[in-house]
């Protein structure tokens, strides 16, 4: 098993979109190391040729009749928005400036 380095954790935090502080990174490297060592024991279980199980029951697709039904009003849908404008969610810029 590969040990997690501080750089690894910083990279993962970036993927997870969490802007960890230096102090948080320092602490989390150690904690994650201990947890990873414990959870890695799954690899010692007799799992060769075992079918993975993603869900406790057979999953079937569920559909409904294509008819109009009650839904949220625009005001309700936007009620929790940090910012809204013209009946839309208002968000920070999504493209780089260059």
């Amino acid at each position: 098993m590969a040990d997690l380095t501080r750089d690894d954790v910083a990279h993962l935090a970036g993927l997870a979109r969490i802007d960890l502080s230096d102090a948080e990174l320092d602490r989390m490297v150690g904690e994650l190391g201990v947890i990873l060592e414990a959870v890695a024991t799954v690899q010692q279980a007799p799992i060769t040729d075992v079918e993975p199980m993603s869900h406790p029951m057979p999953i079937v697709n569920v559909t409904r009749p294509d008819v109009v039904r009650d839904c949220l009003t625009p005001q309700e849908a936007l009620a929790g928005a940090p910012e809204s404008e013209q009946q839309r969610f208002s968000v920070p810029r999504i493209l780089d400036e260059e």
């Binding site: 098993m1 997690l4 690894d8 954790v9 993962l12 935090a13 970036g14 993927l15 997870a16 979109r17 969490i18 802007d19 960890l20 502080s21 948080e24 989390m28 904690e31 994650l32 201990v34 947890i35 990873l36 414990a38 959870v39 890695a40 024991t41 799954v42 690899q43 010692q44 279980a45 007799p46 799992i47 075992v50 079918e51 993975p52 199980m53 993603s54 869900h55 406790p56 029951m57 999953i59 697709n61 569920v62 409904r64 949220l72 309700e76 849908a77 009620a79 929790g80 928005a81 940090p82 910012e83 969610f89 968000v91 920070p92 810029r93 999504i94 493209l95 780089d96 400036e97």
Partner: protein
């Protein structure tokens, strides 16, 4: 009338309401007054809805006066864990990132509670996004155990367990992803049931791990949990994993409490070593009570359970890291702008918000899940965990050939002190060792009080597990044990808990 309405069970209140000898407003008022008196010390609630609860109580009283057909629990108040969306009431999941969020819709189970005329008292405290076994990971401070205010009430549903144990509510809703209904019930001397996966709708339950989450009842008696289970259970077209079958006959099973000829399987891997002696002693006595009631005992082995905790702490973080990606600071919840960045991008705002809005445990699990799902490590971690999950389900299948129900202590220890395990995540995770296998396999489980451990005088729990959609067996066994133990104790276990009026000021 001399009945203390706060100490009456939900079934007793239902009888009083049905007979017209008490109104829902009187019951609701009494419980709200109890909360005003003790919740400063216990901290079960994040939000109390006094006006809404009283209005719903009046509506229940009017419906009854008008002779409408009502569920037995109509007019009996209930507390709801803050992970369920409640229209018009704050829903925070114990997290800063949702502080002040008021959902524009009701979870299906909340809608069912409202339609059945159960007044909603308020929203109960929890570990942030249900990640924890003590409520110490709530962003709003921990709840406390009514048996000893310096100890944990279990988690993540410690708000619901402590509300029920401190007589602030006869009924509460919990959610159980790895034990968050059952372990809090065990350490507070109360009852809690995790229904079969899909037995209660997850629509409006803020997802932690979608393949494991299941909402269920918390109460002080087995019959009360069965009654609440009946109200919230059943098929929901809004949840694609909802089981399209009738709710098992849980109330009838709780009333009959018949275990004659039932085969009770003791899971070898979930007893003995690692379990506190007093917890084990109460478990052994409970098994003997069931034998005296006519049950047969067999021993079963589930060797893969040894790997259950490890598999769970890969599957849960993986699903959580994906589910919690929705907290992106764009459509609802907190938005934090990073300091010192001119015209920050949406991505930078998202990262700053999630750092400010999530607590340590949530960050740990999101990052662990991100790792377990990342390319190059997926097969070794998430993939292996999914294979272990299959082995565990197979172990259950084999065990249920030899036994009708399986039993174990619910949690390895009684309630520990606040702060004791906060700095050691793995020690905290070990609390769920006996409850996790049921979530991985999707089967139902129930915890019922087994007594007080000799070494510390604190409550221990007895867990019953049954095959999928055989939830009624849990209630039969739980009620049979409860009847015998209550008789042996000379009254309910909670009669021995401290009277909190002394500690409140």
């Amino acid at each position: 009338m001399t009945t203390d309405l706060t100490r009456a069970t939900a079934a007793e209140l239902a009888d009083l309401l049905g007979a017209g000898s008490v109104s829902s407003r009187e019951v609701t008022r009494a419980l709200l007054d109890r909360t005003a008196a003790v919740d400063g010390a216990v901290h079960s609630y994040l939000h109390v809805d006094e006006a809404g609860a009283l209005a719903a109580a009046d509506a229940a009283d009017r419906a009854r006066a008008a002779g409408e057909p009502l569920h037995a629990l109509a007019g009996v108040p209930v507390a709801v864990k803050d992970v369920m969306a409640t229209r018009g009431l704050p829903t925070t999941c114990g997290s800063r990132i949702l502080q002040g969020w008021v959902p524009p819709y009701d979870a299906t189970l909340v809608r069912r509670l409202r339609e059945a005329h159960l007044p909603l008292l308020g929203k109960t405290n929890m570990d942030e996004f249900a990640m924890g076994s003590s409520t110490e990971h709530s962003a709003y401070g921990p709840s406390r155990n009514p048996w000893d205010l310096e100890r944990i009430p279990g988690g993540s549903g410690g708000g619901s367990s402590s509300a029920v144990a401190s007589f602030q509510a006869p009924l509460a809703i919990g959610t159980d992803t790895g034990g968050s209904i059952r372990q809090p019930a065990a350490v507070t001397g109360t009852v809690g049931a995790k229904p079969t996966y899909g037995g209660v709708s997850r629509y409006g339950l803020v997802a932690l791990a979608s393949s494991l989450d299941q909402a269920g009842p918390c109460s002080r008696t087995v019959l009360d949990s069965a009654l609440l289970h009946e109200v919230i259970g059943g098929h929901d077209p809004l949840d694609s994993t909802s089981v399209d079958a009738p709710v098992p006959p849980v109330v009838e099973a709780a009333r009959r409490a018949d275990v004659a000829g039932l085969r009770i399987g003791i899971v070898r891997e979930l007893t003995g070593e690692g379990f506190q002696p007093g917890v084990q002693a109460r478990f052994d006595e409970a098994v003997q009570h069931l034998v005296d009631a006519g049950a047969e005992v067999v021993e079963v082995s589930c060797p893969s359970f040894t790997y259950a905790l490890a598999a769970y702490y890969l599957i849960l973080p993986s699903e959580a890291s994906s589910n919690l990606a929705r907290f992106d600071a764009m459509r609802y919840g907190l938005r934090v702008t990073p300091e010192g960045v001119a015209a920050p991008s949406a991505e930078q705002v998202m990262a700053a918000t999630r750092d400010a809005g999530f607590g340590d445990e949530v960050k740990r699990r999101i990052i662990l899940g991100t790792y377990a799902l990342s390319s190059g490590y997926y097969d070794a971690y998430y993939g292996s965990a999914q294979k272990v999950r299959r082995l565990i389900a197979d172990d259950f299948d084999r065990a249920f050939e030899a036994a009708d129900v399986l039993v174990s202590p619910t949690a390895p220890t009684t309630a520990f002190r606040l702060g004791d395990k906060l700095e050691d995540p793995m020690a905290m995770y070990l609390n769920d060792i006996a409850t996790i296998p049921a979530n991985l396999a999707g089967i139902p489980g129930l915890s019922v009080p087994s007594g007080l451990a000799d070494e510390d005088g604190l409550p221990a729990g007895f867990q019953v597990l049954a095959p999928a959609m055989a939830d009624d067996r849990l209630y039969a066994v739980g009620a049979a044990l409860e009847a015998r133990l209550t008789a042996a104790w000379g009254g309910p276990l909670l009669d021995r808990a401290p009277d909190l009026s002394e500690v409140t000021r």
